[in-house]
Amino acid sequence: MSQATLLDLRDANLGYGDSVVVSRLSLTLRAGERIALLGASGAGKSTLLAELRQRLAERAAWCPQSHGLVPQLAVYHNVYMGRLERHSALANLCNLLRPNRRAWAEISELCRELGLDGLLKRPVGQLSGGQRQRVAIARALYQQRELFLGDEPVASVDPHQALRLLALIDKRHATSVIALHQRELALTHFNRVWGLRDGRLAIDAPADELTLADLDRLYPDAHDANDAEG
């Protein structure tokens, strides 16, 4: 295990303003790791991701939970926003009026891989939930960073498609940290799991050393919920 360390947190308190959401956090992120971030809602996943995003800055592509898409703009422009900072303001303005030929070619290729072909000119507001999710992923992929940070990027697609999207993300990024709620996926598809419970890192272990029962303990109501579902 001689991979480079990308990030090292020791006893960090994370939160907004004065309120601490995740306390006394210690973890290490190494290049090449694929990390599933688990935890009940409110456990601090988004807070941790925000911290990672801030610390890794330009090395990380970011796919937010709320997508952060602009419904009035076309799919093409939403994906283009992934590289907004790499063009001049004037070039960006012109691109709004008339798409940049190279960017158009790259983005249509990317969208084809994501099953969005033929939708490039469609405003995002007219797409289905699953399609929007894929646009958000396309925008993150278009950023072309070494590392992928995602907050529930495969939450609203079917399991089959979720696997396909995760494979695409892996193909283009050596390292990834992805918040999930599908526990099975975390064990089969990632090589490390970070589990948050009540603002503390309860699990930090390789995926092959964990069982579903271990992960269930992250969710205080999981047992009751399963009963209710059954």
Partner: protein, 504 residues
């Protein structure tokens, strides 16, 4: 009866602390204040036979003489051109200000000040330097509108959803961020407000005819004043048609053509005399004792202003009466245009009535009532109450139409009092308090018709070329408006979502 004691007694009228009761108390206080002060207002009907005059006016509306109009095309073209370019210049000035609005106290104060002075007063002011020219007309619209656009655009931009902005990669420049992740999200609302403001500009452009600029209002005023009611009726219908067909001729795709084309219709252009302009700004507008630093003289100068306090009193009184009147009119009229009441025919008629009242400039309405009832506060009150009441009623009806009554079987009065009014009343009252600022501004200009508000003295000071006095009174008007605005903001129902920018 031992059981009866366990049941609490019915509370006294209006006692309690629910939000509805608080609003009801607030409204009744307002109405009571109006009733108490009403005897102070001059409400006499002076004309001998208002009914026959009204009959002649109505017959003029019913049988307009289209053929006797002396080529209204020029007046219409100028009205549209002034409204369009006045709005456009207002946007060009106001939009950049909107971007710094929340950061600069100076910008906020400046915008509040230019907003507080009515378009017609700006016109009167510029008239002295630029004469009856396009510069006067455009500046009269563009300057107050810049202040309004700055404020409303800033409010809309403030409500931009933050998620797209937060999702951007680090290092995106200000301009790129704005055009990709902010502007598209609020574009629809900015456009809707701009469209509404253009409609206001059309009304204001007509009104500019009252100070002599040859827009539609010029012909309207002279036709009414000289009793040519059939001609006036034709002109009024023409104006309503123009407003009603705005969606057709003001279509997004036609707009560039319209903007360029109408630029050639503007005119005449003045020869600007720099010395004269400088003299006006540096000398004429300021009282002589102030320029000379003579403080005792300044006091004497202040004392010479005729009836300053009664004029302020009348302005405030008329503002209060107009606000209360608008409330009552709105409460009575909103069901006319709502889908919950009446049948198709009554709704169509009700909506038509509300749109007509809302589209007619209040000065125009007041002018018509003045011809009917003679010069007192009564015509001004009627005009303010009807115009603003109809505007609020229209928005309240639209609000009510979006609601689904929980109990389908109720009769009309039950629906009104139990289902709908409790839900729309906070919004209605909030609109009214917003509108109070507009009403007090309009109150002042009604003075130009001879009603003894501040506007009357401003108008006559300009007429006697006493520019220092006129300017001082303009500042008093502006201060009054700012005061009323602060007051109404204080008492406005809070936590009401007012997503309708078309109330200001």
């Amino acid at each position: 009866m031992p059981r009866a004691e366990a049941i609490s007694a019915a509370p006294g009228g209006l006692r309690g602390d629910s939000p509805g009761l608080r609003l009801a108390r607030r409204s009744l206080t307002l109405i009571a204040a109006c009733v108490v002060l009403l005897p102070l207002a001059d409400m006499a009907v002076i004309t001998r036979d208002p009914w026959s005059e009204l009959g002649r006016m109505l017959s003029g509306m019913a049988w307009p003489h289209w053929w006797s109009l002396p080529s209204p095309i020029g007046a219409i073209a100028l009205t549209v051109a002034v409204a369009l370019w006045g709005t456009l210049l207002g946007i060009l000035l106001g939009f950049p200000l909107a971007l710094v609005f929340s950061r600069s106290r100076l910008v906020r104060a400046g915008c509040a000040f230019v907003r507080a002075i009515h378009e017609l007063f700006w016109a009167l002011l510029f008239l002295q330097v630029f004469g009856l020219t396009a510069v006067t007309a455009l500046a009269a619209l563009a300057i107050p509108y810049a202040g309004i656009f700055a404020k409303v655009y800033a409010e809309i931009l403030e409500q931009t959803p933050p998620a797209p902005r937060d999702a951007l990669p680090p290092g995106v420049g200000r301009v790129s961020r704005f055009v990709y992740a902010e502007l598209p999200l609020v574009w629809e609302r900015l456009a809707a407000y701009t469209r509404y403001r253009f409609e206001c500009a059309m009304r204001a452009s007509v009104l500019l005819g009252f100070v002599g600029l040859p827009t539609l209002g010029f012909h309207l005023e002279s036709a009414f004043r000289e009793g040519r009611y059939h001609e006036a009726g034709a002109l009024l219908w023409l104006f309503y048609l123009l407003i009603a067909s705005l969606g057709v001729w003001g279509h997004r795709r036609l707009l560039p053509l319209l903007v360029v084309g109408s630029a050639f219709l503007l005119g005449p252009w003045p020869r600007i005399d720099g010395d004269l302009l400088w003299r006006f700004v540096s000398r004429d507008l300021w009282p002589a004792p102030l320029r000379e630093g003579d403080w005792a003289g300044l006091l004497a100068w202040l004392g010479e202003i005729p009836e300053l306090l009664p004029a302020i009193g009348n302005t405030l009184l008329l503002g209060l009466m107009g606000t209360v009147g608008a409330l009552l009119v709105a409460l009575a009229l909103w069901p006319l245009a709502s889908r919950h009441f009446g049948n198709r025919a009554t709704r169509l008629g009700g909506r038509g009535l509300l749109i007509a009242l809302r589209s007619t400039p209040e000065l125009m309405l007041a002018f018509i009532f003045l011809l009917l009832l003679g010069p007192s506060m009564l015509p001004a009150w009627l005009a303010l109450a009807l115009h603003n009441g109809a505007l609020i009623a229209f928005l309240a009806a639209r609000h009510a139409d979006a609601l689904q009554p929980g109990m389908p079987g109720l009769n009309a009065s039950g629906r009104y009092a139990y289902e709908l009014l409790p839900r729309i009343y906070p919004g209605l009252l909030a609109l009214l308090f917003y509108r109070a600022e507009v009403i007090i501004r309009e109150t002042a200009i009604l003075g130009m018709l001879g009603i003894a508000t501040l506007g009357f003295h401003i108008d006559s000071s300009f007429a006697y070329l006493m520019f220092d006095q006129a300017f001082f009174l303009l500042l008093v008007t502006a201060a009054l408006n700012l005061g009323v605005d602060a007051l109404s903001r204080r008492f406005r129902p809070r936590d009401v979502v007012l997503d309708d920018p078309c109330s200001r």
